[in-house]
Amino acid sequence: MSIEPITGRYLNIEVGGRPLRIYFEEAGSGRPVLCLHTAGAHTAQWRHLMNDAEVTANHQLIAFDMPWHSKSLPPAGFETEEYMLTTEAYIETILAVVDGLGLDRPLLAGCSMGGRIALQLAALHPDRFSGFIAIEASDFQPAWYDIDWFHRPDAHGGEMGAALVSANISPYAPTEERWNTLWMFMQSGPGVFRGDLSFYTRDDSLIGRLSQIDTTKTPVHIIVGAYDLTCTPEDAKRTADAIPGATLAVMEELGHFPMSEHPEGFRPFFLEALNQMAG
């Protein structure tokens, strides 16, 4: 029996003039690191790093569920709305969480769509952060699938989404963590994965902004797994090459959800990223 050091609370913010109740977890003390989950999932993707004493010894890890995801309820009136994440709303939400938690220039670590928005913030709001760890992050990924597949009354969108993203998990991932990772997708609310994918596969506005990123002020480190079919090492390299001074690490035996699917394999790469951000 044991109680983990992770604690969860709720933060009330406003985004687009509407009140939102955001669930967040934190662990550790020291330099704050705000962690962003992937599309169609939630904060539990960061569970291993938040329980890692070596990481939390001098870093305060904070992760939150995006609205509509897991314990962050959708806004009032959601029953008549179609969830479609946009770059603008995503940025506003993250900055509202930073303000609401009183974080002073945290590091920002995001995976997949979280990595994408981390690079958008590096271009548009670098003064709010002290560095960016962009995991499985690329400039743009058009969909090879139909995002509408994942929100239909005649199919289970969560199970379909999980089966689709299993293509991005490494065969080296321990079985238990592979399925824990997939479970989060199975849990996803109706239409939420689709709405996240709309942002991820249709908004290419980052491409033109990459060259604006000033890594002398806020370092950018991109990490990518070789088994990621969505954001391949080639995609990540193309993105890193377009950001003057960005660095890149390729993980030969990991996939698209490294912190969740293979915590032991990801750990050294994350520690390396934190060390790089130490300046």
């Binding site: 090879w144 699938y145 597949w149 005649d154 199919a155 199970e159 379909m160 999980a162 089966a163 689709l164 299993s166 293509a167 490494s170 065969p171 080296y172 070789a226 088994y227 079919l229």
Partner: protein, 180 residues
């Protein structure tokens, strides 16, 4: 394909007939196959090829997949609503996996222009051998990976595939167990 079809309507044989000499198409009309010409029949029956040994091996692989599925109750349960024919085309060999409520009830071998199927996965024996490794190389670790690296195609009713994706991925990965 139309050259083999005539519009003659046949009596129905239930809602989902699977009879070797006719087929039901989405427009719900039944079509009778016009017999192949002698020349076409000869071409269809020409099976002697350099991959003959491999063909026998692959047929055994399909049978082993069918047998393993019988022993995996949790996978059969995932496919309990899946009764479709899936074409697995490996190089020039065709294997029609006839699923019935999550089990493979029959494996038909081609080449055939007459067997209706829901969707097809076309690939090559080398790609499949690499896909079936316990720890495949990147790109070879998933059917969509094979598609992405240009070693497979998925044709036909892809939505039905996606609706049953975990089931079908688990079935297609069964041969990995024999190599672990």
């Amino acid at each position: 394909m139309e050259q083999y079809l005539s519009g003659k309507t046949l009596p129905r044989h239930g809602s989902r007939p699977f009879v070797r000499d006719h087929a039901v198409f989405p427009d719900q009309r039944e079509y009778q196959w016009i017999p192949l010409t002698a020349l076409e029949r000869c071409a269809a029956l020409r099976t002697v090829s350099p991959t003959y040994k491999q063909r026998g091996d692959m047929r055994e692989e399909m049978k082993a997949m069918q047998a393993r599925l019988e022993e995996r109750a949790h996978i059969v349960r995932l496919g309990r609503l899946f009764s479709e024919t899936v074409l697995l085309k490996i190089d020039d060999e065709e294997y029609y996996l006839v699923f019935d409520k999550g089990r493979i009830s029959e494996i038909l071998t081609g080449p055939s222009k007459k067997i209706p199927y829901c969707f097809a996965v076309t690939t090559d024996a080398d790609a499949l051998a690499r896909f079936w490794q316990p720890r495949p190389e990147p790109g070879f670790h998933d059917i969509f990976g094979l598609v992405k690296i240009g070693r497979a195609q998925i044709l036909g009713d892809i939505l039905t595939l996606v609706k049953n994706l975990r089931f079908l991925k688990d079935v297609l990965a069964l041969p990995r167990e024999g190599r672990a």
